[in-house]
Symmetry: C2
Subunit: 363 residues, 2 copies
């Protein structure tokens, strides 16, 4: 059984590592000749819209999935005429446009920050008059890791924000004074079975995820229930197959949806060691229509991203119950080079291990 994967980054690499034990083989397509998945599987190098390459790519493959959410929707639609491809193109279409995404959430009754489309400076000032300040101006498309976003705090910031981003299709969103950022991984298989991982607590810096802790501290049943209800309605509406990540702001005991990613997600990397079944294995089980595995967490897990520089492996491996994941990438500022997962039976032990790790890492 050969799984074709669009995108050969670390997510693809970890999909392959989860899939080999299931007897699967992998073929990746990525524009970068040094894509991390290429170190351990077949890699075809070229653009996602190279028709001749896509034809070769799909030949002999049993199922296709993707690990990069800016794959052209047209590519996914085209491949879908030859081979099963999951998640469905509609999911990609929704997730690629922040405006469509917010409208989609709204249509399902999932709370979002107030938002408005912005195409002109007049749109922006009009929207801010309604939404209020602070607000966040974002490009509708191709934003990731905080790129394509400007916070507008005062009336003076408005023109500057427009100068930075104006031109592309934009969206302005009310800034939510959230207590925490939480995310959930939801999984749905081809036969419609679903499982949900527990909500995890995420910390970002400079727009990049730095740390996830699973489960979120003091996770109330009602909060997990909200997250499951919201993500279940997304799964159902999209006839979704695979892992879906949904990011929320927590404020006053309720969840406000921020965005979704139709793929395995950085905030789920802890599941490799921290859950009975990892998000990577469950994504593969889902797209192959195999029974889904338990998402149950054993104790507590923390995931720390290695951004820009990676520590000496010996330092990490000397820590108790620390698991190092390097992606085989050259160091570069703000690049995700790997992550470390720490596990512990209880939260105080986890926090102590986390403090020990953080003190040894370059800040």
């Amino acid at each position: 059984m050969i799984v074709g994967v669009l995108g050969g980054g670390q997510l693809g690499r970890m999909l392959a590592l989860a899939g080999y034990p299931l007897g699967l083989q992998f073929r990746f397509l990525d524009p970068a000749p040094d894509a991390p998945a290429g170190q351990l599987a077949e890699l075809m190098v070229g653009a996602y819209d190279n028709a001749a390459l896509l034809e070769q790519f799909v030949c002999g493959v049993d199922v296709v999935t993707y690990e990069f959410e800016n794959v052209p929707v047209a590519t996914v639609q085209m491949l879908g005429r030859h081979v099963p491809i999951y998640p469905p193109p509609k999911a990609l279409e929704v997730a690629q446009d922040r405006l469509t995404e917010k409208q989609f959430f709204q249509g399902l009754g999932i709370p979002t920050p107030p938002f408005a489309p912005v195409d002109t400076f007049i749109d922006l000032t009009a929207a801010i008059a309604v939404i209020g300040l602070p607000a966040v101006l974002k490009t509708r498309r191709f934003g990731y890791d905080g790129k394509g976003q400007v916070i507008v705090r005062t009336a003076e910031d408005v023109a500057e924000a427009w100068a930075k981003l104006g031109g592309a299709g934009l969206i302005v969103e009310g800034f939510i004074p959230f207590e925490r950022e939480l995310s959930i991984l939801a999984v749905r298989s081809r036969s419609g079975a679903t499982v949900f991982y527990p909500l995890v607590e995420n910390s970002h810096r400079d727009g990049i995820l730095r740390r996830s802790i699973a489960p979120a501290l003091g996770l109330q049943h009602s909060l997990q229930e909200q997250a499951e209800t919201y993500s279940a309605s997304i799964l159902c509406e999209l006839d979704y197959v695979g892992v879906l990540a949904v990011e929320f702001f927590e404020t006053g005991g309720t969840l406000i949806a921020n965005e979704m990613a139709p793929r395995v997600h950085n905030s789920g990397h802890w599941s490799i060691e921290g859950a009975v079944t990892s998000q990577f294995e469950n994504h593969l089980r889902a797209v192959l229509d195999l029974p889904l595995g338990s998402p149950a967490v054993e104790g507590y897990a923390a995931m720390v991203n290695l951004i820009g520089t990676a520590p000496e492996p010996a330092m990490v491996l000397a820590l108790p119950d620390a698991h190092l994941h390097l992606y085989g990438k050259e160091p570069r500022p703000n690049r995700k080079l790997g992550h470390i997962t720490l596990c512990a039976a209880d939260r105080p032990t986890l926090d102590a291990r986390l403090a020990q790790l953080q003190s040894s890492l370059p800040s």
Copy 2:
């Protein structure tokens, strides 16, 4: 960092799967073009004594190890002049010859069954007169999975056993009326740090390992201590580096050494999910002189080998906390095609899951 591995079977494949997250790359050498490790790493195909190939193999590699214990000692010695190679050649030499191995155990004060070298029919009858019956006649070299062994139960069996095996260098051993077969995995790193996994209980059929349960039922501290003391003396005597497996017979609360394997071992596969650190990762940590990881077991784990035929993945994955490992091999009678690991918090739950699995597997 590139790790060269002599042998590209499932053990090598699982070494690579454990090593990729550490940022390692792998190069395998195996005579079989379809060796399982070749599906996920560079594979050089050829004989273990092909000097030109070995020269290519070792070029650019940082460290060499092996996953097959019948690699020629001369090959390991030769490679050792170019690059660090672990475990040391002496370990291979000892493990490749059942007579040398038993004498080695004896020299370290480790109990063994009574044994005697057999080169002629007269040697055999003389040895049996001393050792008594039943006894086991074995080839000294190249035995695995019960091959090259004949049980001699009665005086009439002696001539038949000789007819089957006579000619090669042989050893005859007293048959130990054991209660259980246990094994331990011991790990020693280049800096001399050691860790020991708990004793596991193994069940064989037709000379092939079928099942391991970790830790062994009712494992007494004294038994674990014996096993650690014996294996520590082997590690020390050989200045060993890597994972070493030692198999014992348990009889009346004591351990009698049966054999050792200077490599990762089938009876340690449960450690992938069942221990904090798998035997594969710890073998790599050892040969790279990284800190060793904890061998602690969380709850209980059982490993069931898939011999000759493999079940439908969907059947296995529907069981709670079941982990499927297929090696990418074509089915063939008596061939190890994969294994399943079951985990549980307590032994009764493990036993119930094991019974459920066994009832679904072809016998």
